[in-house]
């Protein structure tokens, strides 16, 4: 961790919201970061404290925080920096050796108890020195192994049969839990509401803060954390043991976050199904769709047979499918052009190379261009006749909203909230239906009038349902309600949504 959070006095006149992020705002470009920046920028009547949890190599801030927001000392994970040196309190050492065992039992075990995790994390926060002491101790390791064996012996029908982890995988899991515990020990300043931007690592300090101070906690889920973790693991070439550890940890963190949060705000109803399926109390769910600033009138498409896509190059975005769709489209419309904006997701360099390889194998040449990251995605989609999205997992993708805002028709896979958003303004096909996606692109390129009509319909739909001002207003009411500044907070939001 990069140091203690600076202390500051709470102000009575303005509510203070602690926003916790994981690998996004303000260090990484992307949909969640844009959403954070937009929310903070528009809710000027709130004092924002941003606590980023980032990988250790993220040092350059990509967003400038507005004056009413302040970044706290960021929490780094998997860094080589040692934790702040303190001695454990007298007597604390004795019980602390069980910390790794407690975390593996209740975070990794299928039947783990979220309350036990919260208690353990709270202990880490109250006495941060026990974390290193516990994980460095021989007894801590031995207890961890004993409990891990019990977890691997668990037989729960829906949990499947855990694989036989080897000692190296066990040591890796042990190290991961150490970082979880260190994240729990990160200090947080006084605030009126804690707002986690995901159910994973970002929720850890929020959960601890709530447990310690009783501060209300909101959780926004853009994707569903656990679903994305499973998807990433399913596509990775990790060993069964490492895959088991990663997915079970995501599930464990999510369950703890759902248990603690007072309000869970998915960006689409499709995510709410997952949240309910993971045991979230339905009374906690408030769907707040993303919003976007919509220009008054969209400009007509350039009619250059250009197909634009925007998004990171990673398996969740299924760029390989996009290349196949392009190849099939180009067989029918040889003078079409595909342009993709977006960086290779960090850690997905091999995937990026496989995209380049497939690009070469399909002989796409200059007709499909990888443009790299863009800081103006709206201008990028404005240059399109059709906007394409082939993701296999999404919440409510900003790229689709931006396309609709610019009056461009969307051809997309029907994942997450996409079908609800795109309804009547483009073509939605099941993920994996490359042929169907290509045929939709061909149809729209050959019928520019239809494309323009769908685009304008999308623009109108966006203005009506996904307006930025309405979205931020919902959050304003939600956060102020949680902070006790507006009574009957949930009802207010629900009534608005119903309307």
């Amino acid at each position: 961790m990069s140091g203690p959070a600076p202390a500051s006095e709470p102000r009575a006149d303005r509510p203070r919201v602690l926003l916790t992020t994981e690998g996004t705002y303000p260090y990484v470009m992307g949909g969640v970061s844009s959403w954070c920046h937009q929310l903070i920028g528009r809710l000027t009547d709130i004092d924002w404290l941003v606590l980023p949890i980032v990988a250790s190599d993220k040092r350059r801030r990509l967003f400038t925080l507005p004056p009413h927001a302040r970044e706290l000392a960021r929490a780094e994970v998997w860094s080589e920096a040692p934790p702040p040196r303190r001695r454990p309190r007298l007597g604390a050492r004795r019980g602390s050796d069980a910390l790794p065992a407690t975390l593996v039992r209740h975070l990794i075990g299928w039947r783990g108890d979220p309350d036990a995790v919260i208690d353990a994390w709270t202990a880490c926060r109250c006495d941060p020195a026990i974390v290193r002491t516990a994980f460095r101790s021989t007894r801590g390791w031995e207890l961890f192994l004993d409990v891990l064996r019990a977890v691997l012996d668990e037989r729960v029908p829906e949990g499947g049969v855990p694989p036989e982890l080897d000692l190296l995988e066990a040591a890796r899991l042990y190290q991961t839990l150490y970082w979880v515990a260190r994240t729990a020990a990160v200090p947080t300043p006084g605030c009126d509401v804690v707002h986690a931007t995901g159910a994973g690592w970002a929720s850890i300090p929020a959960v601890v803060h709530r447990a310690l101070h009783g501060t209300p906690m909101a959780l926004t889920e853009h994707g569903v954390y656990v679903r994305e973790a499973y998807l990433a693991a399913a596509r990775s070439d990790a060993s069964p043991g490492d895959r088991f550890s990663a997915t079970r940890l995501a599930r464990g963190l999510t369950r703890v976050a759902y248990q603690s949060a007072d309000i869970v705000a998915p960006v689409t109803e499709a995510n709410a199904h997952w949240e309910l399926g993971l045991g979230l109390d339905p009374d906690k769910i408030v769907v707040i769709p993303n919003g976007l600033h919509v220009p008054d009138e969209p400009t007509p498409p350039p009619q250059t047979k250009t197909v634009v896509s925007v998004g990171r190059l990673d398996p969740l975005k299924d760029a390989l499918a996009m290349l196949r769709v392009a190849a099939e489209t180009l067989r029918r419309i040889p003078d079409a052009r595909f342009v993709h904006y977006g960086p290779v997701q960090e850690g997905q360099e091999i995937y990026g190379r496989s995209c380049r390889r497939l690009h070469q194998e399909l002989g796409l040449g200059d007709r499909f261009k990888f443009m790299g990251p863009t800081d103006d995605p709206r201008r990028a989609v404005r240059a399109a006749d059709v906007v394409l999205m082939t993701s296999i997992s999404e919440g409510m993708p900003m790229a689709v909203l931006e396309a609709m805002g610019e009056g461009r028709p969307v051809v997309a896979t029907g994942v997450g909230g996409v079908p609800d958003v795109v309804r009547g303004c483009g073509v939605v096909r099941p993920p994996g239906d490359d042929h169907g996606l290509a045929m939709a692109v061909v149809m729209l390129l050959r019928n520019p009038e239809l494309a323009w009509r769908l685009g304008r319909r999308g623009h109108r739909r966006l203005r009506r349902l996904f307006d930025e001002a309405a979205c931020t207003e919902r959050y304003r009411r939600l956060l102020l309600g949680l902070a006790g500044r507006e009574p009957d907070r949930k009802r207010t939001v629900e009534l608005e949504m119903t309307a």
Binding site: E80, A81, V161, S239
Partner: protein, 441 residues
């Protein structure tokens, strides 16, 4: 996947085809059905739950994938640079003694060797031995410029000419360590060779050493321009101060063992320093072999199930690497020492096989304590080094020694004999070592 119902018999082939294996649990089955078959989240979860109720109940055996081994292609070049520097510096003793007198040079070398080793160990522990350490060190460039000056001033005030010379030698050698670690061996080798040549043509030796110290410092500062350093994959983070102090104490102990033996005269021309060359070269070879140790340790853990009744890690690969390193060090020291003994123009002045054996044992002790220290056995290492220093001091007090270098032999052997069993124990319980020591900072 609207065309497939929730019947496990229909769903299973779809999921297995996508994954190429059985699903791990209901959630994995559900994400597959949703992401690749277009099933809604609620239905996918239901289908996943039903599917898992009919899943086979056998545990899959997992074998961790090992990280790709990191090569150290620079080792040979840096090693060669180090040997050239050792040999060149060996030729400084005669002109320095001639200019400053035996007592001054002897005192200076006694201080410089101990201090240099202490600083080198401390620097390696705090900065040089971990990723991003150079960048962190680069943030202290002002200190890097000021510290040498302060050291020389302190040396001059405390010990006069001897102190000045000791400080200058320390500055040169420590700066050289930074340059070698920064992958800049050429400037360092050039500076040392130029200084050697300058002394050979009769320039004042102390001025030459002063020039070498200044140039090495400037080169080190130039080498540490932050924008030229590779951004680290991990953050540039310093180790704990107490850990650094511990390493410095170990280094100082090894340095003391090097200079405590009165039968080794560092001022008798180039020969005593040359006698260090066999063990120095052999230690490099041994250290190069140790680069294979971490992969060997991890290899010994991969595939050993945690649930086995006797889930003990396989220690043979790691112990094999350790044995290989020790064997290489001893064998090469013996071979090069024999060569040195048989070189006619050196004759008896190498002070016999005892000194060479002593340097060899000290190199072995240094290798073993360095390794044990990096594996978390710092306290044991401190004890071993302290005992080695103590034994050598006792021999020195005793005075009447059977052969030259007996103090070195006794001290080095003591430290090595204490470190070796501890290392074997640490490597035999490598899972614990990796989990609680190497991977928990």
């Amino acid at each position: 996947m609207t065309h497939v119902d929730l019947d496990p018999a229909a769903v299973r082939p779809v999921v297995e085809a996508r994954l190429g294996r059985d699903p791990q649990d209901m959630l994995e089955a559900a994400v597959v059905l949703e992401a690749w078959e277009g099933m809604g989240g609620g239905r996918a979860l239901l289908a996943g739950r039903r599917l898992m109720s009919t899943a086979p109940a056998t545990a899959e055996r997992s074998v961790a994938k090992l990280p790709r081994p990191q090569h150290e292609p620079r080792l040979l070049r840096d090693g060669a640079a180090f040997v050239i520097v050792v040999i060149a510096i060996a030729f400084w003793a005669a002109p320095l003694t001639s200019d400053l007198g035996v007592a001054v040079v002897r005192d200076a070398l006694t201080v410089a060797l101990s201090l240099t080793l202490a600083l080198q160990w401390a620097l390696r522990s705090r900065f040089l031995d971990h990723r991003g350490g150079l960048l962190e060190l680069a943030r202290h460039r002002v200190a890097l410029v000021l510290a040498p000056g302060a050291t020389v001033l302190a040396g001059a005030v405390a010990l006069g000419h001897a102190g000045t010379l000791a400080a200058l030698l320390t500055v040169t050698w420590v700066g050289g360590t930074i340059l070698l670690r920064r992958n800049w061996p050429l400037p360092y080798v050039t500076i040392v060779l130029a200084a050697t040549a300058a002394m050979a043509v009769g320039l004042p030796a102390l001025d030459v050493v002063r020039g070498a110290g200044v140039l090495t410092t400037l080169a080190a500062v130039a080498a540490l321009r932050p924008h030229e350093l590779e951004p680290p994959p991990m953050p540039a983070a310093a180790r704990r101060a107490e850990r650094t102090a511990c390493s410095a104490a170990i280094g100082a102990g090894v340095g003391l063992m090097l200079v405590l033996d009165p039968s080794v005269s560092w001022t008798a021309g180039a020969v005593p320093a040359l006698a260090l060359a066999p063990s120095a070269v052999a230690a490099l070879w041994g250290a190069a072999e140790l680069c294979r140790l971490e992969p060997a340790i991890l290899r010994g853990l991969a595939g050993v199930p945690v649930r086995g009744a006797r889930s003990r890690p396989r220690s043979r690969p790691a112990l094999g690497v350790l044995l290989g390193a020790v064997g290489r060090l001893l064998a090469l020291t013996a071979a090069l020492s024999a060569l040195l003994l048989l070189t006619p123009w050196l004759g008896d002045s190498v002070r016999g096989a005892g000194v060479l054996a002593g340097f060899g044992l000290l190199a072995l002790a240094s290798l073993l304590v360095g390794l044990l220290d990096s594996l978390g056995g710092s306290r044991w290492v401190l004890a071993a080094v302290a005992l080695g220093v103590g034994v050598e001091a006792l021999v020195r007090i005793e005075g009447d020694v059977p052969f030259a270098g007996v103090g070195l032999v006794a001290g080095g052997a003591t430290a090595a004999a204490l470190a070796l069993p501890a290392l074997v124990v640490v490597l035999r319980r490598s899972a614990r070592t990796v989990a609680t020591t190497l991977w928990i900072r």
